[in-house]
Symmetry: C2
Subunit: 456 residues, 2 copies
């Protein structure tokens, strides 16, 4: 076979050791917070039947689904007219499966399939890759991980409050301090459309207001006009952009604004209860802003919605979520309310890199490397190596007696903090030379001393 | 949209919390052993370009590759004659990417693409799913995880010895005691074909001898005959099945047998050196058997080969690997020798289940659940919950004041060891009722006492 110059598909990435160690730091932090709040792990298959995925993400989503070719003679049952009908139609004949587009639909599918075995409320987290046939660009990939936690089978607002707590714990554990959590309710957005005389046009209102950050107030109002909102409605909407004061004051203003909307007032009451729970938990509005201009795109949200942004970093939201009343309805199970949160690992990674927040010491690596001088030293060193490892210390020997410079370079590149040099003097005296690679200093210690120092 | 009865693709699996926790126990054990020996994590994309994958796994492997349909109008460039040429040909026009079939080829591809940045020897581990369009059956799935560790860029036999050490450490940490590691060398198998007058027919010899366990000695010899091995060769091969004694004695016998084969003797010397290294490490043939009937299928092995079987469990090998001299050659980088080991997580899971080796206590779950009696108790309980969590304790409150039986059932199903019952007496006195769900007993303790007991 001809030799190839290898490459990887556009929009996908290899994660070498340096990146993996940093990504694992983020994954492990999130995973441990999820566990801390009683969420349990779940994994679903990478492939789902296409009829599970299709129609769940809108027309655009359907186009971004990766489809997997049926195995074997996949054209067997395709008729000539299927082929003539073009790509879209033929795909339904030759592909039964597609790659997961998000973790929410597979989760809903799992809940429905296992409804008789599960104990509700069911709290699960799921950290797996998803695939989208999107045009790759900076920060947008065709394969990327999602980190989701959801609780289904209860409408208790304690869950909303705990999502806020989890967000705070994740960012605090990652040393990200300067961020804001926006909190709103879909019910409030519905209420607004009712009050301004645009009942039933919540979808259009959300799409427009969602762009506020990007295009500003005037253009949002223009968009509403062009979508057919009357000048009357627009005039009533205007003051909403200028509601100010503390969370309590803004809630009070909105309560007045929504006085005529039952749904709107229910949304307000839920936001109030959520803040009250946060207070019971001992959290006084920490990082949380009630923001009625937060809309979030996904149409299945029906209650609280969340979004997290890191301040002074030009990147979109790093986390978001909300409550949905009927996620499993499409699979035939109605009345399962739930609320969930998703962390965007790639963006969090970029934020931490930009703010220089990754721990300076390499987080996972060999702690001790033994230099390999020659065959005699090698034999002695293997015994030392076995003893270090028996103490739980990650250790290795350079496998060949290469030039010292090459061996030290290896240790350096790998971020190994301690290097042992064992030559004839050391073998005779039992006092081994240990170099601290960060400080540059060398000391002579016996094996017990070395173990003690490395473990400290 | 019509409501669907959801299902998952044949040969794929959901892993709910119970299974995930057990699988994570195995993954974490293997990952930590890999790290202990200085291996660093790597992840590659799920999709590879099909020209990276095709031709690397033989004809059968090519047929088992999952191909991903190009996005958009994938038929755009397909001519009518491409369609008439049938499934196999058309696939090359409409699919540029496929799902990873194993972790070895992507690793080789990664090494070649990053050869200028990597420091050799490069020790990496990789734990990711792979996909094969195989016929699903008991223990064979279309999506399954592989757990591989490889070191490339050195031919030091210390690496072979360390693979044996890693195998021992993994199984010891999983409490699997009764297993055997078979060790052989491809060079010895080559040497045998030379010595018996069947030079160059090592492939056929390996295929036949690989079936020894399944079909027995006589049928292996028959197969050799039917593959054209002369009676002369067969007679010379016969005694090989009856070589007995300790590892040292068997090595000595084979040294005699292979006296005329340079390659064979080199294989013997490598096996001897590997055993010598194990001795230097302080390991005296622990679980290791030199077994010249071990062949292993993969054609890229050129040196040592390993295989691990658990005794008294009817399941194939649970781990295997070997040395290859030219894995990256197909991607244009020659002379990179490496050696690797792969653990079969699904089989290890089945073995542990059959031998009842999973820890009895649920490994990862909420440690304390607070029962939710009513609104007043709820508010008090949230403060208690916050304090438990601040101590690093995984804790949750049942989010609604449901019937006590339902709440206790939830705790029970989730394997939560401690349940707190906080009613009006408890709120008044500060002495909270704690139920130990395993013992069934209830005690009254203040919060500090509870924290102490849970942490113990």
């Amino acid at each position: 076979m001809a030799k190839q110059k290898p490459s990887i598909p556009k929009g996908t990435r290899d994660f070498g050791p340096d990146k993996m160690v940093r990504r694992n730091h983020i994954f492990n932090t999130i995973r441990s917070v999820f566990g801390h709040f009683g969420f349990m792990p779940l994994e679903t298959p990478s492939m789902e039947n296409l009829n599970t995925l299709t129609g769940k993400y809108g027309d655009e989503g359907d186009q971004l689904l990766y489809k997997v070719l049926n195995s074997g003679d996949y054209l067997k049952d395709a008729k000539p007219e299927d082929i003539e009908a073009g790509s879209k139609h033929l795909a339904t004949k030759i592909c039964d499966r597609g790659l997961r587009y998000d973790l929410t639909v597979p989760f809903a599918r799992y809940v429905v399939m296992n409804r008789n075995e599960l104990t509700f409320p069911f709290k699960r987290y799921q950290i797996q890759p998803v695939w989208r046939a999107d045009r790759p660009q900076k920060g947008r990939y065709r394969e990327f991980y999602q980190c989701d936690a959801d609780v289904v089978g209860t409408d208790s607002l304690i869950c909303e409050a705990e999502i806020v707590l989890m967000i705070n714990e994740v960012f605090s554990n990652l040393d990200i301090d300067d961020y804001g959590i926006k909190l709103n309710s879909r019910k409030i957005l519905t209420g607004i459309t009712e009050v301004v005389g645009a009942e039933g046009r919540e979808g259009e209102f959300c799409v427009a207001i969602d762009k506020l950050d990007k295009i500003g107030e005037e253009k949002v109002l223009d968009e509403l006009r062009s979508r057919g909102f009357g000048e009357d409605s627009v005039e009533k909407i205007k003051p909403l952009f200028h509601i100010s004061g503390t969370n309590e004051e803004r809630i009070a203003s909105m309560k007045e604004f929504l006085a005529e909307s039952e749904t709107g007032l229910k949304g307000i009451a839920e936001i109030e209860d959520t803040f009250a729970y946060l207070k019971d938990f001992g959290l006084e509005n920490d990082h949380v802003d009630f923001d009625i201009t937060l809309a979030r795109g996904l149409s299945y949200y029906t209650g609280a919605i969340f979004e997290v942004k890191v301040n002074n970093v030009k990147i979109g939201s790093v986390s978001g979520g909300g409550r949905y009343d009927n996620l499993t309805g499409v699979f035939g199970l109605d009345g399962v309310s739930g609320v969930g949160i998703s962390f965007g690992i790639d963006r969090i990674y970029d934020v931490m890199e930009e703010l220089d927040l990754f721990p300076k010491d390499r987080l996972e690596t060999t702690q001790v490397m033994i230099v390999n001088f020659d065959k005699t030293a090698e034999r002695y060193s293997l015994g030392v190596l076995a003893k270090l490892r028996a103490q739980g210390i990650s250790a290795e020997i350079f496998p060949e007696s290469a030039k010292l410079k090459k061996q030290m370079n290896y240790a350096n590149k790998k971020g190994i903090p301690y290097v042992l040099l064992i030559g004839s003097d050391e073998m005779e005296s039992g006092q081994l030379t240990m170099k601290d690679m960060r400080e540059g200093e060398q000391t002579k210690l016996d094996l017990d001393g070395i173990i003690e120092k490395v473990k400290a």
